[in-house]
Every structure is written in structure tokens, then in C-alpha cells.
């Protein structure tokens, strides 16, 4: 059910997520400590290719990682397998990536300026 390909996808997505999560938390703490308002933060992220790539990569990694993780849980504890399981894995991935992409778009697209 988890072959080498899925296993590697899950490990690599974890490797990508870890530094991005730490980076996200560090920047959040720094920004809030610095007294930046939500509007000011958005002013810096919107129109920024860097933040688009940062959160875009994060969302992609999360979607892959969570879809495979849920696949294992559903298979081992609910007993769904075969094509249904594959379809479910892709569906979870699609929902997560769609929701994540929407959020990334909202935070990083558009012209800068608060």
C-alpha cells in the first residue's frame, strides 16, 4: 500500500516542510514582535515572488504529505483499498492544494501597498 515511491514522496515532502515551517514561525514571531499589523504584513507579501514561492512550496509539500499520511490511516483503520483508496488519496491532495493555493494567492498576489 505504501511502496517506495510513495514513501519517498512522503519523506521528501517532510524534509521540505520542516525548514519552511520553522521559517514561517520565526518570521511570524519577528513580525509580531516588530509590531507589524496584518495590513503591513500583507503589504510586504503581496507582489512578492519570494513569499509566493515560499508558501507555494509549503502548500504543495503539505498536500503531498497529508494525502499520503491519510491514505495509510484510512487503509489500516478503515480498510478502504485499491482504486477507491487511490481516488481518495488524490481527492485529499486536490482539496488541500486548492485551498492552499487560494490562500497563497490571497496573501502574495496583487500589487504591494497596504
Amino acid at each position: 500500500m505504501l511502496d517506495l515511491r510513495l514513501y519517498m514522496a512522503q519523506r521528501i515532502s517532510a524534509l521540505i516542510m520542516a525548514p519552511l515551517t520553522l521559517g514561517h514561525i520565526a518570521v511570524m514571531i519577528w513580525a509580531v514582535q516588530g509590531g507589524l499589523s496584518a495590513g503591513e504584513i500583507l503589504g510586504r507579501t503581496q507582489g512578492s515572488v519570494f513569499w509566493f514561492l515560499f508558501y507555494g512550496t509549503f502548500v504543495a509539500a503539505v498536500s503531498v504529505h497529508a494525502a499520503i499520511g491519510l491514505r495509510v490511516i484510512v487503509y489500516e483503520h478503515v480498510g478502504i483499498s485499491g482504486k477507491t483508496l487511490t481516488a481518495l488519496t488524490w481527492a485529499v491532495f486536490a482539496v488541500l492544494i486548492a485551498m492552499g493555493a487560494r490562500a497563497v494567492w490571497a496573501v502574495t498576489a496583487g500589487a504591494g501597498g497596504a
Binding site: 500500500m1 505504501l2 517506495l4 519517498m8 495509510v72 487503509y75 489500516e76
Partner: protein, 241 residues
């Protein structure tokens, strides 16, 4: 207090998977193993009780059963270490089909052993000169760590991943694969990595370590599986690199 006067309430699984537990009163003795208790029932209470054993000294791996819900080698486990309030429950090994009573069907266990690439393929014949193997070398050390496996299936019964995933090869078969992978005299070492990388392969292991905790020979299948994961991951990049 006479030891013989004491009785144990021993409930034993009867029938196939639709069976039920049946309780017997068994006299308690000093130095009594779980296998002794089961044998007493078969000899003195009900000769139709089916169970399996051979060596009685922890060599053959045929006597494993679930004892109070935990897998154990019954010939080497004293009953007094498992009795609770004078009672004990003995059932067939978990994660395997039940043939009858305490005898589980070991076929899936051994089929997976073979599927994981566990059949030895000699790299030379008797006519070749014997190549020396350094017993302290790093590869041989890895291989030697798993060779005392007696195929008892205790680890297989302990593994929750096997319980949830019928295709999973399980700890013993994967440990065997790791042993052969590190064996300089095995001729099919690369194909082992393929054999353990499929849908039921080593990557399904959750590394929770029940196998290592319960193995009566104190082997460490979990670490062997970690070794397989490491090597298959390295190979994944090598193939693409």
C-alpha cells in the same frame, strides 16, 4: 501450602476463527511452563485439544501462542510470570488464520518470507574456493544480528501493521531480507531491495517496535527494517542519479 493443591483457571481457544474460549482447571506445579499447562489439558482433560510444539527448548519456533493477549514462546515462558489472579488465557497466534484450537496456519508467514527474497541463493558452488568472511566486518555484523531467528512468528503476531495491512510482509520476513542483503555469499542481493519495495514492503513499517519488544530471542527486526528503508532510499536516488 502444597503447590499441587493449587489450581489454575486456564481458558483455551477452541475451534477455528468462530470458536470460543473454554476454561479448564489445571493443577499448578513448580517450574511449569505455559506449554506444560497446555499439554496437561491435552493429556488429562481433553485429548482433542490441538496445539503445536516440537523442541520444548526454544529452538524450533513452533509453540508460539497468545497468552493473555500477548504473543509468547510457550515452552520458555513460566506460567507464574503470566498468571493473573490464578487465571490465564491462551489463544492461537494473532494475525494468522486459525486451523483449530491453538494451531495457527503459518502459511502466510512463510509465504511472505519467500516473497521478501528470503530464499538463499548461493554465490558459489562447492567447487569454488571458500572465500573468507570477516566475522567482525560491518556487513557481516548486520547479517549476524538476525540469524538466530527461529521463525516463531511472535513478532508477526505482535505487529499492528500486519493486523491492519494484510499485504505487509512483516518483521521476520523483512529481517531475513536484511540479513541476506548483508550476506556476502548471497547471490541475489540487489533483487532483495526490489522485493521489499512493493506495496506490502518495508516502507509500511511504522517503527513502533512491538516486534523488537516481543521477539523471544531478543532480535531487533525494527532496526533491520530501518536498514532496508535506508538502503532502498539510497538506491532510489542512485537509480535516478
Amino acid at each position: 501450602m502444597s503447590a499441587q493443591a493449587e489450581k489454575l483457571d486456564v481458558s483455551v481457544w477452541r475451534g477455528d476463527s468462530d470458536g470460543a474460549y473454554q476454561t479448564f482447571q489445571v493443577p499448578a506445579y513448580e517450574s511449569q511452563t505455559i506449554l506444560d499447562v497446555v499439554s496437561w489439558i491435552q493429556q488429562y482433560a481433553d485429548p482433542t485439544l490441538t496445539y503445536r510444539f516440537a523442541c520444548r527448548v526454544g529452538m524450533c519456533g513452533s509453540c508460539a501462542m497468545m497468552v493473555n493477549g500477548r504473543p509468547r514462546w510457550t515452552c520458555r515462558t513460566h506460567i507464574k510470570t503470566v498468571v493473573k489472579d490464578g487465571a490465564v488465557q491462551i489463544g492461537p497466534l494473532r494475525n494468522l488464520p486459525v486451523i483449530k484450537d491453538l494451531a495457527a496456519d503459518m502459511d502466510p508467514f512463510f509465504d511472505k518470507w519467500v516473497a521478501a527474497g528470503g530464499v538463499h541463493a548461493p554465490s558459489g558452488s562447492r567447487y569454488d574456493p571458500i572465500e573468507p568472511v570477516d566475522p567482525a566486518g560491518p556487513e557481516r555484523t548486520e547479517a549476524s544480528a538476525g540469524i538466530e531467528c527461529i521463525n516463531c512468528s511472535v513478532c508477526y503476531a505482535a505487529c499492528d501493521t500486519v493486523a491492519g495491512n494484510a499485504d505487509y510482509l512483516g518483521p521476520a520476513a523483512l529481517q531475513r531480507a536484511w540479513t541476506l542483503y548483508n550476506d556476502a555469499k548471497h547471490d541475489a542481493r540487489e533483487s532483495i531491495l526490489d522485493a521489499v519495495s512493493g506495496t506490502g514492503g518495508c516502507h509500511n513499517c511504522h517503527s513502533m517496535g512491538s516486534c523488537t519488544v516481543y521477539c523471544p530471542n531478543e532480535l531487533d527486526p525494527m532496526s533491520a527494517i530501518a536498514g532496508l528503508k535506508r538502503e532502498t532510499a539510497k538506491n532510489f536516488f542512485r537509480k535516478r542519479g
